[in-house]
């Protein structure tokens, strides 16, 4: 049994992930590189008696140690020493792609150069002298069209030959010219005598090169001083000869090799055809049309993401809280399970499962769209158009999309921060996303606005959304100067050609995200749901006021007194809102609307008349179960239909049409007795701004590897919420509202 480790490297937009998907398909395992937020994909493949460990390196343009992606790729190549590298290059842009290839050759590891997107290059009239390319670089060259799986077999075949020792290619040693070769020799000699142990860890020529480049990471790891005698000596003669610094000289040489090779092996027939990408961009990035087109595209994205997924989410929600809960309750009660356990099972466990499942449609649709935007090349254009605005609050143009999606649901927005290139941008964006008023806050607004601002409903609702955006701008400006000070985000970004994304890629990516969410996030959400049940129901059967949650609410209520809602009911609801902001309303309903036979009333009645109820239920069962099943199936079909219908119908955010039922009316009239319009508005502002729900926190943990960011976000947002609600309530009082 032979084992090989194969690393896959390549420029962003070279079709690398498509090629990986074509090679490994669903056997890809997705995780994070240790300690960072960069995605790591791996797969284990078997070809006869050969086991291949395939590791996808982050897409990079270079191996210089300035971006996290580059450091990861480089560390893996240098430290894990893969047996062979598949270098995926975009054939339509060979020169810039070969720049990375040259750096891979410096490592001395055998390389398979996959000339990807070969069909497009051919169409553009490029001709490649593949034999000569192999000869010049000492690599195996395989033309590929990853979208059609062309060339995948050839790659695997070659890897197998390589494993059997049949490969004839060995990476060419790159010559840097006499000056540098001399310096390298001096450094290598010096290392041999002074640090022989280091030489066994790194490829020696590569190490010498990095030391000469004064690569800070390598100097630090090897403990070699910048002012070391041999280094000074190595550099002295060409410091006099050249004006430029050594990094620039080497970049020049590497690009020189890349363009020299390109010139030798590439010829272009004249093709009379204007570039499709440029034609599209003439419209899409047009001075006057650019922004309207962008806004239209974003409106479509938003509409598809939420209108399409919400009927499905609603269906899951109503099935779980309706039919599933009802029948589980029935089964448990028939088995004679104690009432508290039934309540735990249905309101804790089953509701917990529901809380996880409800997110699936929206995450699936959103990941699909994001992957589509990235794969098609539009994401880069969106960033190009929006960068000016986003830069103002210390963000990158690409942050706009996660922020926008936040208006639907903050959770997938946190996942969508992946599109950003630096960890700083990702974190800052993730921290601002919760200020975008998500769909779960809407039920709270609807209840209160219906009770207090029915005349002015639209204006009040609008004011909350605008306030959220305004706060994001202010908080962005503030964080840019405090927590995220010092790292200026750069915007040096390729505008890749437009391409039609492959459906297989979109599916694989979406599927992986879903799987990841259910496994990783699902467990936490489930646990939180059960914990909340205990908070609300222990000791079991007491008035809500005396439950743990009620007591927590009572303890912290003085904090909210200056904001106009210092009651235990309001504070308990806010605490419960940690699960999801709409829970603020359902908790209030439970507390204020005096258990209209739903919870406590029913259980007491049940105990009195258990026998009778059992019989009733049994009767109901005989015909009821199949009825319910049928109804569930039908309602699923309706939900699917609604999803598609909403794609083609006009604007209409689903959750806005919150149905007015009796319970809601009772709650509203209760609220009128407790809140004044001013304190109601302060309360809404507080709900808008205060800590994001725990699912956002779980998503943050998943993306950023720790609870720290969520912790910071909770504190900052809650303080912000308190201050703003305070200003509104006290200011409003002074103005006589």
């Amino acid at each position: 049994m032979k084992r090989l480790t194969v690393a896959v490297a390549g420029n962003p937009n070279s079709g690398k992930s498509t090629l990986i998907n074509a090679i490994a398909g669903t056997s890809l395992q997705v995780g994070n590189w240790p300690g960072v937020t960069v995605e790591k994909k791996m797969a284990t493949l078997k070809i006869e008696d050969l086991t291949i460990k395939l590791v996808d390196l982050p897409g990079t343009y270079s191996l210089s140690p300035y971006t996290q992606e580059e450091v990861i790729a480089r560390d893996f190549l240098v430290k894990e020493k893969p047996d062979i590298i598949i270098d995926v290059a975009d054939s339509t842009n060979l020169e810039r792609n070969l720049y990375l290839t040259v750096q891979l050759l410096e490592l001395g590891i055998p390389v398979i150069l996959a000339l990807n997107i070969f069909d497009e290059a051919k169409k553009k009239g490029y001709e490649f002298d593949i034999v000569k390319l192999e000869e010049l670089l000492g690599v195996k060259v395989i033309p590929t069209v990853a979208t059609k799986k062309d060339g995948v077999e050839d790659i695997l075949h070659y890897i197998k030959e390589f494993a059997e020792g049949k490969s004839v290619h060995s990476p060419k040693k790159i010559k840097y010219g006499d000056d540098i070769e001399n310096s390298l020799k001096i450094i290598e000699e010096a290392l041999k005598t002074s640090n022989p142990s280091i030489l066994s860890l790194y490829p020696s020529r590569w190490l010498a090169l990095k030391i000469l480049e004064e690569d800070q990471l390598v100097l630090k790891e090897t403990g070699i001083n910048e002012d070391a005698y041999f280094l000074k000596k190595a550099k002295e003669h060409f410091i006099n000869a050249h004006e430029e610094d050594i990094e620039s000289i080497l970049a020049d040489i590497r690009y020189g090799i890349a363009s020299g090779v390109t010139r030798e092996i590439l010829s272009k027939r004249e093709v009379r055809r204007s570039d499709l990408t440029e034609r599209i961009d003439r419209v899409v990035l047009n001075r006057y049309l650019g922004i309207p087109i962008f806004l239209t595209a974003m409106w479509l994205v938003f509409k598809i993401a939420f209108d399409f997924s919400s009927p499905l989410s609603d269906w899951i929600d109503s099935t779980i809280s309706g039919v599933v809960t009802k029948w589980s309750k029935f089964v448990l009660e028939t088995m004679g399970t104690p009432q508290w356990l039934v309540s735990l099972a249905t309101e804790g466990v089953i509701a917990g499962v529901g809380a996880v499942l409800v997110f699936l449609p929206v995450i699936a649709v959103m990941m699909f769209i994001i992957t589509f935007l990235e794969g098609s090349g539009y994401m880069a254009r969106a960033a190009f158009v929006m960068d000016r605005l986003m830069h103002y609050i210390g963000l990158h143009g690409k942050s706009f999309i996660p922020m926008l999606l936040g208006f639907g649901c903050n959770v997938p927005s946190i996942y969508a921060t992946r599109v950003l290139e630096t960890e700083r941008d990702r974190k800052l964006t993730a921290m601002l996303v919760p200020l975008m008023s998500c769909g779960a806050r809407l039920p709270v607004y609807v209840i209160f606005i219906g009770a207090f601002f029915a005349q002015n409903a639209a204006n009040v609702l609008w004011s909350l959304y605008v306030l959220g955006i305004l706060m994001a701008v202010l908080l962005g400006l503030f964080l840019k100067r405090t927590l995220f000070k010092g790292f200026a985000p750069v915007f040096i970004m390729e505008l890749p050609p437009y391409r039609v994304p492959v459906l297989r890629d979109l599916m694989v990516h979406t599927w992986q995200k879903l799987k990841h969410f259910v496994v990783k996030a699902g467990t936490y959400i489930f646990a939180v749901s059960i914990i909340m049940w205990f908070l609300l129901n222990t000791p079991y059967g007491v008035e809500k006021e005396h439950s743990i949650l009620g007591r927590i609410g009572k303890t912290i209520s003085p904090v909210f007194a200056p904001l106009g809602f210092g009651t235990w009911e309001a504070s308990s609801s806010l605490v419960a809102g940690l699960i999801a902001k709409e829970v603020v309303v359902s908790t209030m309903a439970q507390i204020y609307v005096d258990d209209k036979g739903e919870n406590k009333g029913e259980s007491e009645a049940a105990e009195v008349n258990e026998e009778g109820r059992d019989e009733n239920l049994k009767k109901e069962t005989e015909m009821g179960f199949f009825e319910d099943l049928k109804e569930t199936v039908i309602s699923f079909a309706v939900a699917v239909r609604d999803s598609f219908v909403s794609l083609f119908s006009g604007l209409g955010i689903h959750s806005l049409k919150a149905e007015e039922d009796e319970e809601q009316k009772t709650l509203q009239s209760k609220l009128k007795g407790i809140f004044s319009p001013l304190s109601a508005y302060a309360f809404l502002v507080f709900v808008l701004l205060y800590w994001p729900c725990v699912v956002v926190g779980i998503a943050m943990r998943q993306e950023f590897g720790s609870w720290k960011l969520y912790g910071q976000t909770m504190i900052i947002h809650s303080v912000l919420a308190w201050l703003v609600a305070f200003l509104i309530f006290q200011g409003g009082k002074m103005l006589g509202f």
């Binding site: 720049y99 970049a251 363009s259 922004i291 190009f384 158009v385 040096i492 505008l495």
Partner: protein, 75 residues
């Protein structure tokens, strides 16, 4: 003159980069090297960033970064 001062459609040759550290290295990695020819393709609708064609592909960068690139107009 500076890259940021060029008008859309102009072609220029890069003379030097005065950027520092990571930004300079990133620019060089993207092929922005002295001696290289580039063309200003577009300016974003809000006036920043700009889109240039260099080494046969499109690269966008902010005017801040373009300020630090000395060029000489060819046509």
């Amino acid at each position: 003159m500076k890259l940021s001062e060029l008008k859309v459609g102009q072609t220029a040759k890069i003379l030097s980069l005065s950027s520092k550290g990571a930004i300079k290295r990133r620019l060089m990695d993207m092929g922005v090297l002295s001696g290289e020819i580039l063309r200003i393709e577009k300016v974003a609708p809000l006036g920043d960033p700009i889109d240039i064609v260099i080494k046969n592909y499109h690269l966008s960068l902010r005017k801040n970064e373009a300020d630090e690139i000395e060029v000489e107009v060819i046509e």
